[in-house]
């Protein structure tokens, strides 16, 4: 019996913050009391474990499970803080992407969604097999992009590929936006990106140094309520659970922090 919703997080271009986004949204949902499984589908470039601070506890991986060398329950690593409510299936580090097929991923996603409220799959960059595997079993796709020409172009390619498959329309997260640059007209705005890509917005995450310092410690930034990026991720998390949350005001000045941004008029 299917219970949970399966999300794939993808981007086309590498380095836009897919893994950070996956780690934060899944941790955020666990913070809200949901039971979440996270799958690192970036085979050969395992990263989600280190971003989530679980790298020392990896024993089995995605490929072991698919090849039947390990039971799914054995391979899942429980988060230090959230235990049963946040569990990671790490990627294989020494295998290539072809060790997994879309059918394997569909089966895995089905299996996980029996026990978990949310399943997050972190996709590798690109539009090749690794990406196809990651989205194969997903009910919903989240595209992460940056307000930069190359990232936006690649996001559009992903949207095109997804249109051809019969998925729900993907939702967009614009990551690493710098409000001061947008104000000066030196960075694409949220509205610009939405107009170009023509999909719905899930949220906007500001460029924030705390992302680096928190991932240094293996703690997703969403655990830090005073970090702007953490707040932005928490808002997206709540939207995933169905809450209506206005976009965060990214203006740096104090006092207007609680002012509702009109960015959300889309």
């Amino acid at each position: 019996m299917k219970k949970g919703v399966v999300y794939a997080v993808t981007s086309g271009k590498g380095g836009v913050g897919k893994t950070t986004t996956t780690a934060n949204l899944s941790t955020g949902l666990a913070m809200l009391g949901k039971k979440v499984a996270v799958v690192d589908a970036d085979i050969g470039l395992r990263n989600l474990d280190i971003v989530m601070g679980l790298e020392n506890r990896v024993v089995f991986n995605l490929v072991d499970v698919i090849e039947g060398k390990a039971k799914l329950k054995m391979a899942l690593i429980k988060d230090r803080q959230f235990k049963d409510n946040l569990q990671l299936l790490p990627a294989a580090q020494t295998r290539d992407k072809d060790a997994v097929t879309p059918d394997d991923m569909i089966k895995l996603a089905k299996e996980l969604s029996k026990d978990f409220d949310y399943v997050f799959i972190d996709s590798p960059a690109g539009i090749e097999n690794g990406f196809k595997n990651a989205v194969a079993g997903a009910d919903e796709v989240i595209i992460v992009t940056n307000p930069e020409v190359s990232a936006v172009r690649d996001a559009d390619r992903i949207i095109g590929v997804l249109e051809a498959s019969q998925k729900n329309k993907p939702k967009l997260i614009i990551n690493r936006i710098k409000p001061n640059m947008v104000k000066k007209g030196e960075m694409l705005s949220v509205e610009d990106v939405l107009e170009l890509l023509g999909i719905d917005l899930y949220g906007v995450v500001p460029d924030d140094e705390s992302i680096i310092s928190s991932s240094n410690k293996g703690e997703p930034v969403i655990k830090y309520a005073d970090a702007k990026a953490g707040q932005a991720y928490l808002n997206i998390t709540k939207r995933i659970t169905g809450e209506q949350i206005p976009l965060l005001d990214l203006d740096d000045k104090k006092g207007i922090l609680n002012k509702i941004s009109n960015l959300f008029k889309k």
Partner: protein
């Protein structure tokens, strides 16, 4: 004085975000509408079949077939040299 001139020059310059947006508009449209060679071949064959019902053509005679941006719309432009109209066919259809 010199500073004023500079200021004026720089103020008139387009901000880089609108340059980015315009470049992306063009490149995204191109990406979205690029034909794969396979589809192009299929379309050519189909078009040849239709056109040769009405016109006398040489085989493989489509000179060019491409999608082009015309302001906000996308247009398909085809160039086919015609030898002559097949008269009996066109008259037959009018009856």
């Amino acid at each position: 004085m010199l500073k004023n001139i500079f200021d004026k020059l720089f103020k008139k310059e387009e901000v880089s975000s609108s340059i980015a947006k315009n470049r992306l508009k063009v490149v995204i449209t191109q990406d979205r509408t690029s034909f794969s060679p396979k589809i192009l071949g299929l379309l050519k064959d189909d078009l040849m079949e239709v056109f040769s019902r009405y016109f006398e053509l040489e085989k493989e005679d489509i000179h060019s077939i491409k999608l082009e941006n015309e302001e906000d719309n996308l247009g398909l432009s085809i160039s086919i040299p015609i030898k002559k109209v097949k008269i009996n066919v066109s008259e037959g259809n009018e009856k």
